[in-house]
């Protein structure tokens, strides 16, 4: 096996252009599990941990190599909340937001936040830079629009993030758990809500009908909130698997969305 360890972005992009079939290694928390269980044996690895540009976090531009440990300590409320639910302290010290996007698990913990705020994903190659909206980038179960010669270089957040934002996830314990359902709700200064849900479809999704319904209600009555939760439960597309059932996930998606929305209203 050949391993390359670039320390700068140019060097990394060159290595990838020369070997687009190479396996990319960021924090290793997903890739090494596959290797340890003999599901994968890469011949050529490009390790990204040393690429300094990827570790930069400048306001709304979040480098792909920023670890969940740093995000957990950062200033963005729901982003810090979700980072705190990623794995364990050991996993957060290694795992990165770029890796979380590259793996593109339906339960990716960062995805509901990115969907709720309509974040963009920046990709770079020797050919140039392109920026895709979250739903253009995440296209299926463990599938993204990244081309083989592209690196995920950053997450670009919108200019203004709603101050009121909440994230939560449901799982069998507080630590070391893959989400059964995860949700992020944001409410902007005009009172407009956005609701994104993870682990209830092939990719993270927005509950658009529920958003529209609650945003058209001037009075957030109990009946309106109950209808909001019902619409979320209806809109999600969960499956039954070893982690949970479709029925439970629908129920939990509605409960979680309503709870987070009410938390937003109280702040």
């Amino acid at each position: 096996m050949n391993i390359e360890r670039p320390s700068g972005l140019e060097e990394g992009l060159e290595a990838l252009a020369a070997s687009p079939e190479a396996t990319l290694l960021a924090g290793g928390t997903d890739l090494m599990v596959e290797i340890n269980y003999h599901a994968r044996r890469p011949e050529h690895v490009i390790a990204l941990r040393r690429v300094k540009e990827l570790k930069e976090w400048d306001g709304r531009r979040l480098g792909a190599g920023v670890t969940f440990r740093r995000i957990e300590q950062g200033p963005i409320r729901a982003l810090a909340q979700l980072a705190r639910t990623v794995g364990s302290p050991q996993i957060r010290a290694a795992g990165t937001i770029g890796g979380n996007l590259g793996t593109a698990s339906p339960a990716g913990d960062s995805h509901p936040f990115l969907a709720a705020c309509d974040a963009h994903i920046e990709l770079q190659s020797r050919r140039g830079t392109r920026t895709l909206r979250w739903d253009e980038f995440l296209v299926g179960v463990k599938r993204t629009s990244r081309q083989d010669d592209e690196l995920i270089t950053a997450v670009v957040l919108p200019e203004a993030l709603p101050r009121r934002q909440e994230f939560a996830k449901v799982g069998v314990r507080s630590a070391m758990v893959i989400a059964t359902v995860s949700a992020c709700v944001m409410v902007d200064d005009e009172g407009q809500a956005r609701v994104a849900l993870g682990a209830v479809g092939p990719t993270v999704l927005r509950a658009r009908r529920a958003e529209e319904m609650i945003n058209s209600e001037s009075e957030k009555s109990d009946a309106a909130l109950a209808e909001f939760a019902r619409l979320v439960s209806e809109e999600v597309k969960p499956i039954t698997d070893h982690r949970s059932t479709e029925e439970y996930r629908r129920h939990a998606a509605g409960v979680l969305s309503r709870r987070l929305f009410e938390r937003c209203l109280r702040t």
């Binding site: 360890r5 599990v33 290797i35 050991q90 996993i91 010290a93 290694a94």
Partner: protein
Amino acid sequence: MKITLVVNREEREAAVHGPESLLFVLRERLGLLGAKDACLQGECGSCTVLLDGEAVCSCLVMAGDAAGSEVLTVEGLGTEDELHPVQAAFVEHGAVQCGFCTPGFLISTAHLLGHNPTPTTDEIREALAGNICRCTGYGAVLRAVESLAGERRS
């Protein structure tokens, strides 16, 4: 491929085959059996080491990517004659049952106290959430760490 890294303050050279983990190299090539080979997916924390000062699961570190790094395993924490304060506290409070998870708990605790000398009970629980004890000896572990936090507070 051969890699050089600093393990327990000593420069070591090790052969590495393919994408194998740092844990495998520590145990099978360098004879350091403190970090345990258990879940191999980052769930249990029994392979926790400090990699350049960060507590990580060594089963999730590709050995080739650790070349040039500094690694601290439980073998480098203290000696039989001079236990590290965390080891002494674990002995004092009986925070060891079968002992399998203990090296990981010791490293995670030493890392926690290095960053936060006086953690609250909640902070201790959260910092040790990535270490699993299947004997369920958490009460004694918690008392051991709390005693260290208490000493540092007074």
